[in-house]
């Protein structure tokens, strides 16, 4: 198979998913508002002490990003599963893992990228400033694609299973832990003045590893679900 036809398949899937998301823009808007509301709840719960807020900021922002990604996972495959598009995707000559990569990329643009873009604003709410804000954005930019990649495995595994909403959280959240640790760790160490480079490198490593393994595992899970 020629490379151009594979490339076309991926870009076609991305374009289609983005187009669908634009037509149903309220879905993406819900993710964004969810993120903002969750993050805003913490100062109300913990108290407005600036020093405390600055300390918890990396963890809160990262956990909120995790949950936002988690809640939007049902949208990755379920609509296509219900209307039969997914079965067609399995049948096309292009490798399924490549098509999965396209779907995950689209999911990241819809639910991950808004988090990255909003994060400086949310960081300001918590009193982060200067270089730390930059590290926060960078950590989310490196980390949220990994969240989408790992999440797609879970979403494919629970496709059409009863109670799939809670089950996918149980499956995926433990796998998110390293990303959370490195992501929040990067911001924390930047605040402490030792720079976030080590943690950012580890986040990059997680991204590369998940790019390499996750589409393959997701494709296997999809094939099992569609048998």
């Amino acid at each position: 198979m020629s490379h151009s036809s594979m490339w076309e398949a991926v870009t076609g899937i991305v374009r289609r998913d983005l187009l669908l998301a634009m037509r149903r823009w309220s879905d993406a808007a819900m993710s964004v508002f969810f993120l903002v509301i969750v993050v805003s709840l913490f100062p109300l719960g913990v108290g407005p002490e600036p020093a405390v807020l600055r300390t918890i900021a990396p963890g809160v922002l990262w956990v909120a990003a995790l949950l936002t990604c988690l809640l939007s996972l049902a949208r990755v495959f379920t609509p296509d599963y219900l209307d039969g598009v997914l079965e067609q995707m399995v049948l096309v000559p292009q490798p399924l893992s490549l098509l999965v990569l396209g779907k995950v990329l689209a999911h990241w643009v819809i639910s991950g990228l808004p988090v990255v873009l909003l994060s400086p604003l949310l960081g300001l709410q918590f009193g982060l400033e200067g270089e730390t804000l930059g590290v926060l954005v960078l950590s989310l930019l490196l980390g949220t694609p990994t969240l989408s990649m790992i999440g797609a495995i879970g979403a494919a595994l629970v496709l059409g299973v009863r109670g799939s909403g809670l089950l996918v959280a149980l499956l995926v959240l433990p796998l998110y832990v390293p990303v959370l640790i490195f992501g929040a760790g990067a911001v924390t160490s930047s605040m402490a003045g030792i720079g976030g480079e080590a943690n950012l490198s580890l986040l990059g490593a997680c991204l590369v590893l998940s790019l390499f393994l996750a589409p393959w595992a997701t494709a296997a899970a999809l094939r099992i679900a569609l048998e």
């Binding site: 959240l173 832990v177 390293p178 393994l213 595992a217 296997a220």
Partner: protein, 249 residues
């Protein structure tokens, strides 16, 4: 002797039945010996006093919890690769025992932590990763029970177990990765042991005892899994009398 014939559940069922008493007996004997050595023979630790003795349960349990996860993932992988029913059944049978050891490691760790660190629970890397391992065992088991179709349940939980195996090295290296409270490993292949010989001996005996226990329990559970799955008259005319009928073969 051709071992591959035992990859068929019908043939493995009686073999497992014959092996269980042996493994169980060895497990009981070694556990008695190991606990006696650990509690009465091994010297008192000069820093931690008597409370350190929980490691004779804690460390082997923690080892088993990780080791069993890898074994479960290997069976899951073999099942995916060879499409063998027995492999999936083994993976299914291993999960509860692995989860039990994970819980035991966490429990004994908390019991050791209270007198030594002054806290039942600290957010230390190894404790946390062990907790995550418990979540992963829960995920494997819950995914399996949520799917009604046995074939899909087998294969889906196999994929999840294989994905989760990435986490096991993170658990192991977490001590080096994060700067934590937990003491570094006292037993290592590279530098040899820093412990007294009797302590090490007792711990190794307990480890082997836990292995034997795991094998016995897993074999017993895989027999139950077989009966559950094959209770429809697919390989025997009289499903009600199956255990005897199979064993007679």
């Amino acid at each position: 002797m051709i071992w591959s014939k035992y990859s068929v559940p019908q043939a493995f069922y009686p073999l497992a039945g014959r092996l269980i008493p042996w493994f169980a007996a060895v497990a009981v004997i070694l556990m008695v010996v190991g606990l006696y050595m650990g509690f009465f023979v091994a010297p008192t630790d000069f820093q931690q006093g008597e409370s350190y003795r929980i490691i004779f349960v804690h460390v082997p349990a923690a080892w088993m919890s990780m080791f069993l996860y890898v074994v479960m993932a290997v069976w899951a992988g073999v099942g995916m690769g060879l499409n063998a029913r027995l492999s999936f059944m083994m993976a299914q049978a291993i999960a509860p025992t692995g989860a039990m050891f994970t819980f035991l490691a966490l429990l004994t760790g908390a019991m050791w932590g209270k007198p030594t660190w002054g806290a039942w629970w600290v957010w230390d890397a190894r404790l946390t990763s062990e907790l995550i391992l418990l979540f992963q065992y829960a995920g494997v088991m819950l995914l399996r029970t949520s799917i009604d179709d046995v074939r899909r349940a087998d294969r889906s939980s196999a994929v999840f177990a294989l994905v989760g195996v990435v986490n096991v090295p993170i658990i192991y290296y977490s001590v080096q990765w994060w700067n934590t409270l937990h003491q570094g490993a006292s037993v290592s292949m590279a530098t040899g042991s820093k412990m007294a010989a009797t302590m090490l001996m007792a711990m190794l005996i307990m480890t082997i005892a836990f292995w034997m226990y795991s094998i016995a329990v897993i074999l017993a559970r895989v027999r139950c899994v077989m009966l559950e799955r094959e209770s429809l008259p697919t390989w025997d005319e009289k499903p009600a009398a199956m255990p005897e009928a199979v064993e007679a073969r």
